[in-house]
Symmetry: C2
Subunit: 329 residues, 2 copies
């Protein structure tokens, strides 16, 4: 039922969120709606993801990084589709533990990422829940008209690429759950990958220009590659042994007796927020050049063939991974 | 943490939500993003509200009406700003009790309101929470460029109007909490007003054409009129005795010994989802004609003066209401 709250909705909006508002389109967060002028020649690209304490982030995660992760998992969807973000709407479902200092921390995280990614708050809602905290954001970006890459465009003969490294987010979660022992600096790198993944927005124009299909890697590399295979009614063949690993993930690999099983875990763990994409073989040089210019690692991890589904190989042999990705529901 | 779920995210999207998707812009809910072409000559109007079980709806409320209320509280924001809705993004935070039948019921409510209001699902997310269920929706509409009415335009000399009737939502909540005894048909009417309020979308073009300021009545008539006063740096004078009441609300009034106190409760209870607006005195006839054409009740409840804040009167005497509206946070 409605209730008076010390860290109330109006105070939260007025003192914490209004300073983050888009100078024009958010109407000072005082008007129930945001109003965006049309941008001829462009499409509006929208995505909305939600995160729940205890499901998508840990109760111990600092709220500033929770806010950053909320924005970044959504920004990653825009990057993978070739769109350039400009703003977002936010719904905060504060739990009992979200008093004023926690809300300030959350907003500090939003502010940090607004500066990094050049986005502004457009509107939203703030409510209290007796359950665990949860948050959702609707992220918005522009893309030149009809340029947005779908999941469905992969063609036989295309190659499969992935940005960055794979497995760090999942290893970071293991580290935070004390299931992992590595040198402190490795642990820190993995924890940071879990809490504040880096959406590959700088690669969005390249995806738009060169990719035939793309998705962001959130459910796990194999699951998301599988989505591209399914949507395009083609077969994707992925080579596990070329999986791009960070120094920390390589250190973890070195401690494992079963490298194939270890790679399977990294390729299915999820929470990577990299871009998996397909492109014609003739585009490989251009893709590599664009990645180099951005100091972004880009790895060819497989190819597209006639057929359907996902074929996973290790050292040339087709294998059956025991799981293809997590269900986050 | 990630977990396998019998009523999983993919099944929920594929079997329940995909049939609701916009035929073109939602990309079959299979692509992480929705893509909207620009509409030259129009602004995009956006609003995002969240509702939480036990806070904004009752655990006993049927999930089909919860879905309808979610859409309607957001549609009401668009109506009050003169925008015409076309679609929405949805985040479902399902609780433990939301198995397959409950999700089907929720989707049946969405489907019903999609037909009534001519809107389509554009995208979103579905997650599971160990706490109470909560939902948020980002509603989107078009308005002719630069026509969107703000809260801030009221000018001294303007009149204050409200659509429909006031207090039914609050009385419906009292009825559902067994705090009210009236004839069964009255109880049903009030319960319906609480669970499935009717956003005044048919009045959106009139608001756009004639209102100087507007807001939807969600926090309570006096609170929302107060927002208009504050945003416009003017004084709003509201006459309580002319408050438009439904037959059920009038029946409740007749049972009260303190009519002024009863009117105060109705004017502060909230959950009305009517439109409160200001307009020049010269626009009154046109407003009434447009309301009549739509068989919509429209009541003049006050006037705008120099000064600031809200003045509440009862039978010509200024009074101090004991509360001006609920805080829903």
């Amino acid at each position: 039922m409605p209730a008076i709250d010390v860290a109330g909705e109006f105070e939260t909006i007025r003192r914490l969120l209004r300073p983050l508002a888009h100078p024009e389109w958010a109407r000072g967060l005082a008007d129930d709606v945001a109003v965006l002028p049309s941008r001829p020649g462009h499409d509006l690209v929208l995505t909305k993801d939600a995160i729940v304490e205890g499901v998508h982030f840990l109760p111990e995660d600092p709220l500033d990084t929770v806010a950053q992760k909320l924005l970044r998992v959504n920004l990653s969807d825009l990057a993978a589709k070739g769109a350039e973000p400009f703003g977002y709407l936010l719904a905060c479902h504060w739990s009992e533990r979200c008093g004023w200092p926690e809300r300030e921390a959350f907003v500090a995280g939003l502010r940090r990422d607004q500066a990094i990614f050049d986005i502004a708050l457009l509107g939203g809602d703030t409510v209290k829940t007796p359950g665990p905290a949860s948050f959702s954001a609707t992220l918005m970006g522009w893309a030149p008209s009809a340029s947005t890459v779908s999941r469905a465009g992969a063609r036989p003969g295309d190659l499969v690429f992935v940005t960055g490294t794979i497995g760090d987010g999942w290893l970071g979660l293991q580290a935070l759950q004390d299931k992992l022992t590595l040198e402190p600096e490795r642990m820190d790198a993995l924890t940071a990958a879990y809490r504040t993944p880096m959406p590959r927005l700088e690669f969005a124009p390249v995806v738009r220009g060169l990719a035939t299909a793309s998705a962001d890697v959130s459910d796990g590399l194999l699951a998301d590659a599988g989505h591209i295979a399914e949507a395009g009614r083609v077969r994707l063949e992925i080579d596990l042994e070329v999986l791009p690993l960070s120094a920390a993930a390589q250190a973890w690999m070195d401690s494992r007796v079963d490298p194939q099983g270890a790679l399977e875990l990294l390729a299915t763990g999820g929470d990577d927020y990299e871009i998996v994409l397909t492109a014609p073989a003739g585009a490989e040089n251009a893709l590599r050049r664009e990645a180099d210019r951005r100091h972004l690692r880009l790895t060819r991890i497989g190819r597209v063939a006639e057929g359907k589904g996902l074929a996973v190989r290790y050292l040339g042999q087709e294998i059956k991974p025991t799981r293809s990705g997590w269900t986050h529901d």
